[in-house]
């Protein structure tokens, strides 16, 4: 739909009403994404208002009800002290998500610093940073993270930094690639030809275009970070029990796997549910930004 705009004498696009656009957007989002968003929303509620979802006090010890299998009274069973596993998973969501968000933020900040140095630092900067990224890739993520834990000692903050540092190399490579591609793009060359100043080109053209994929990267990264962080806790080198943090619950339940499988399976299920949901959403955002919406997910 276009109409002649008399004041400029040219064709301009007529924007449909906001409600129409919202409806069109809603229709363009596949069913799977809605489900994933619902799951993430529930996790966010659990993180911010755990009281809304907890069925009992997650710290309440009830030795008479030790190792109860999942039932109506205890949705996901009880642990070795008779505490309700479902309520503990809800109570641990805040800490697990904070570590996930924090670690991803640290990773992206480090990656951004490296990426900017490479993308805008000229040939020398790019060469140095590219080699550095190659070197960082040679570190297994968990090993680099555990090196940080060895030096600083196990704690919530260490876990966050360890995972952030461990995973930053992957992001750095992607951000660098994106910046270099945008820097050499036709519209940047055009802006240079018109005579725009360098700072203006960087702020108006290069950064907005190069950093847009960060939204998708951040979403994808949170699930990944939660998995690594709970792995470190699982090894007994991160957040320690009696904290209800998901990895700490996995670590605490390890000795009782034979008696009560739900102690390991349920917190793990929460991790998988979160990781799959944010991956699905992140991929969808990525596809939308690149303009190639794949409809593989339902």
């Amino acid at each position: 739909m276009s109409a002649l705009n008399p004041s400029f004498g040219e064709f301009v696009e007529e924007r449909p009403a906001l409600s129409r656009r919202a409806a069109a957007f809603a229709r363009s989002v596949p069913f799977g994404i809605w489900i994933a968003s619902l799951v993430v929303a529930l996790f966010l509620i659990a993180a911010i208002f755990p009281q809304l979802l907890e069925t009992t006090n997650p710290y309440n010890i009830n030795l008479a009800a030790r190792f109860s299998a999942p039932s109506a009274a205890h949705l996901l069973g009880t642990d070795q002290l008779g505490r309700d596993v479902f309520s503990r998973i809800v109570a641990g969501t805040g800490e697990s998500l904070s570590i996930g968000f924090g670690a991803t933020g640290i990773a992206l900040a480090l990656a951004l610093a490296l990426g900017l140095l490479a993308g805008l630092g000229g040939k020398v900067g790019d060469a140095i940073v590219s080699r550095l990224i190659d070197v960082l890739f040679a570190f297994p993520v968990l090993f680099l993270a555990l090196m940080v834990v060895t030096v600083y000692g196990a704690s919530v903050t260490t876990t966050m930094f360890a995972v952030g540092i461990g995973t930053s190399a992957g992001y750095a490579r992607m951000i660098r690639g994106q910046l270099v591609a945008v820097r050499d793009a036709g519209y940047v060359e055009a802006a240079r030809a018109i005579g725009h100043r360098k700072t203006k080109i960087v702020w108006q053209h290069i950064l907005p275009n190069a950093l847009r994929p960060l939204i998708a990267l951040f979403t994808l990264g949170v699930g990944n970070a939660v998995i690594w962080a709970s792995g470190i806790s699982f090894l007994g080198l991160g957040v320690a029990p009696p904290s209800p943090e998901w990895g700490a619950q996995l670590a605490a339940g390890r000795d009782y796997t034979t008696a009560a499988w739900w102690l390991e399976v349920m917190p793990g299920l929460a991790i998988v549910l979160l990781a799959v949901s944010v991956t699905v959403i992140g991929r969808h955002i990525q596809a939308r930004l690149e303009g190639t919406v794949r409809t593989t997910l339902l």
């Binding site: 060895t150 699982f234 390991e264 998988v272 991956t279 997910l297």
Partner: protein, 317 residues
């Protein structure tokens, strides 16, 4: 003759580059611990004796001398890199043994697990792609879903579930301590699943785009069957990105192997690493990190060599 010389030159160049990467990882590892230097001799003695008392000056001096902890940071760095050049990674704080011998005693089972899992991941990813990619049926939707979920599965969780179901419940495998092939089945499957997920996604993307190429149409028009087109033509192209990913996967598999070994109580570098991190045994942790980096570098050189075999176009360059 000229080709052989060229190949030797290529290999030499890659090896020198690899040595530079390992040197750089060792430097980063050294800096990470040296820049946060606290009173390490004191904590070593306290950890060894299990008491929080401040040790006497004599014992402090002895420990400082043994590990060279009072030397300047620069001096420590030179002797660390110098030792590395001679294959010496220092002495463990707590095991009274050289780090190289601690690692070499335990790395065998880890490497076996790692490469069996990598092979398994390839088999799963390639089979799913050949059977499902680019088709629209129930199986292909299952394959896509499997790859997505498998790529997000935490290894420690999958391992525990497999352990509960197949060892505890069904009794098909020993719960822990099984040696030989039967002890390798569950850990290898556990470790392979996430890699198969990643790899499957990459192979599938490439596979689908290759299927649209003209040479595929030409093969079909010559009367080649669908399975032949998929295995003989499309697959060869589709595995190139998966080869690259295999090099990267070695690093991922090292991380995963530590978690899997912990779940199944398998021998390997996992248990040494976890203990060393717990005790603050910096030389052992640094040594494991440097050795894994070296293996990663070698694996990536092998991947690049394999590239030339799979893709003859590269030979002319």
């Amino acid at each position: 003759m000229r080709r052989a010389l060229q190949q030797a030159g290529w290999l030499a160049k890659r090896l020198i580059g690899g040595i530079a990467v390992v040197w750089a990882t060792a430097t980063i590892v050294f800096l990470l611990q040296a820049l946060t230097e606290t009173n390490r001799a004191k904590s070593i003695i306290q950890q060894q004796s299990g008491s929080a008392l401040t040790p006497s000056k004599g014992t402090l001096d002895a420990v400082n001398r043994k590990f060279g902890l009072t030397e300047s940071v620069f001096h420590q760095y030179i002797s660390y890199i110098g030792g590395l050049a001679h294959g010496n990674l220092g002495v463990s704080y707590f095991q009274h043994d050289a780090v190289t011998s601690v690692i070499s005693q335990q790395i065998g089972p880890t490497l076996v697990l790692l490469f069996v899992a990598l092979a398994l991941a390839w088999i799963i990813a390639v089979t799913l792609t050949v059977l499902a990619a680019g088709r629209d049926n129930v199986f292909s939707r299952f394959a896509t879903g499997f790859q997505l979920v498998a790529a997000s599965l935490p290894t420690y969780w999958v391992g525990t579930i497999l352990l509960v179901v197949f060892a505890l419940d069904l009794g098909w495998f020993q719960v822990e301590g099984a040696s030989g092939i039967s002890g390798l089945v569950l850990p290898a499957i556990t470790l392979a699943l996430p890699v198969a997920g990643f790899m499957g996604q990459v192979i599938e993307d490439e596979f689908v785009s290759v299927l649209r190429q003209p040479f595929i149409t030409s093969a079909r028009s010559r009367g080649m069957g669908d399975l032949g087109v998929r295995t003989r033509h499309a697959l060869r192209h589709a595995i190139l990105p998966a080869l690259t990913l295999s090099g990267w996967a070695v690093g991922y598999l090292f991380s995963g192997a530590v978690l899997v070994e912990s779940v199944f109580a398998r021998p390997g570098i996992g248990s040494i690493l976890v203990n060393a991190v717990n005790e603050g045994d910096v030389p052992v942790v640094s040594g494991i990190v440097v050795v894994s980096a070296a293996i990663y570098v070698l694996a990536n050189i092998a991947v690049d060599a394999a590239y030339v075999v799979v893709d003859p176009r590269l030979k002319s360059r």
